[in-house]
Symmetry: C2
Subunit: 215 residues, 2 copies
DNA sequence: GTTTGTCGAGACTGCTAGTCTTGTCAAGCG
DNA sequence: CGCTTGACAAGACTAGCAGTCTCGACAAAC
């Protein structure tokens, strides 16, 4: 996800013998400018992180990056793709949840980390802007779904380990627990009517363990 | 909420003696056309309910209602306000939660009803469209906040009654319980990655009671 | 019959996503 | 060295939509 794909096949080959080595001339012409690539991602992140919630247009991204609009669209299919790529480029390493051997501790840490990440201005406005864009761009909404799926899977694994150790009931609905965590998170994050502090994280984690323990 | 307000003061009175009967001439000129008002709300609902998820523009609403755009903007401040008004106009009566005298039963019914309401095509696409609009329109986001607050309050009251009867711990975080219900609801509703069926509703309600009971 | 305010119709502005065009530059090939 | 290919910056252009403005018609009060 953090490495981008070109939106269409490059190097106008017709590939008449599929399954072959990429035919004789794999590439000619000027090479892709890696600096421009980075500049676009960085500009997107900068604008996304702007606290004023400004709309983040493609024009702005291109101008900030010192790049033509076409260069953006050559490498990403839509604005949303740029934004998501910019965000995951920064954030998709740290999805491996904690593993202390005790479910309550793991879950507390996971929830606390999740809540905490959204408290920092930069990430918060970026995430908010992303959600805003995803609401209007079906393509981005798709990407967003797989983005969130990654997070959910990490949490699901954490819970699964706990269940294997007998800390959750064998018939506990892990997906529902996962969605209770991320549901509360996004709901409060986007509406902003309630806190996402460490205290809340602990209470939520503890109550989920209590409700689903297998004794 | 279901009765609309004019976007600005009507009938150019200056009201020099506040707290008085509305001064001598409360209104002159042609009266508001109630039929047009209804037609707009109905058109909005129709378009919102269209299964194809089409964008629902103001032009379309006005054209469908057989009304000039200005007539829409005379009575509502933004497109989002129209949409929200159209939706609440239909839905805001039934917020009084059940009251059977037993928390588990009440909560199950409340959650089940909430989930169920979003399964019907019309309401579902309307709600989705509304969320989409709220993401880009701060004004609507505000209206949306008070809309959701009404629902949250109904659920909070339900829980509060249960706590008074001793079915929840005295220190249970009712707001967190509320947000777990609506968090799961919106999260699954908007992402569509998991079911919102009666089974889920029951499991969620039961687990929340279990986690927060006061014994 | 004059004033005030609503009505339908539609032109208009302003903003943005995404495409297309143009002229330039860099890399490989002969 | 010249030719071809494709990336590049700049920016014109199209299309869709929110929201405003203008116009002529009409209706209610006075």
């Amino acid at each position: 996800m953090s490495e981008t794909e070109p939106r269409t096949e490059r190097s106008g080959r017709t590939d008449p013998a599929p399954g072959q080595a990429p035919s004789a001339r794999p590439h000619t012409g000027r090479r892709r400018n890696e600096a421009a690539h980075r500049a676009i991602l960085d500009a997107a992140l900068d604008l996304l992180a702007a606290p004023d919630g400004a709309p983040v247009t493609i024009d702005a991204i291109a101008r900030t990056a010192g790049v033509g609009k076409q260069t953006v669209y050559r490498w990403w299919p839509s604005k949303g793709a740029v934004l998501l790529d910019a965000l995951t480029d920064r954030a998709d390493q740290d999805v491996d949840g904690p593993d202390t051997g005790a479910l309550r501790t793991d879950l507390r840490a996971f929830v606390a980390t999740t809540f905490d990440a959204a408290q920092h201005g930069t990430t918060a406005s970026a995430l908010r802007a992303l959600a805003r864009e995803a609401a209007r761009d079906p393509h981005l909404a798709d990407l967003m779904r797989s983005f969130t799926a990654t997070r959910r899977n990490a949490l699901h694994d954490l819970l699964s380990r706990g269940r294997d150790r007998g800390e959750l009931a064998g018939n506990a609905d892990l997906d529902l627990i996962v969605d209770q965590v991320y549901g509360v998170f996004w709901y409060r994050f986007l509406l902003g009517h309630g806190p996402l502090d460490q205290d809340t994280a602990e209470r939520l984690a503890d109550s989920l363990v209590t409700a689903n323990r297998g004794d």
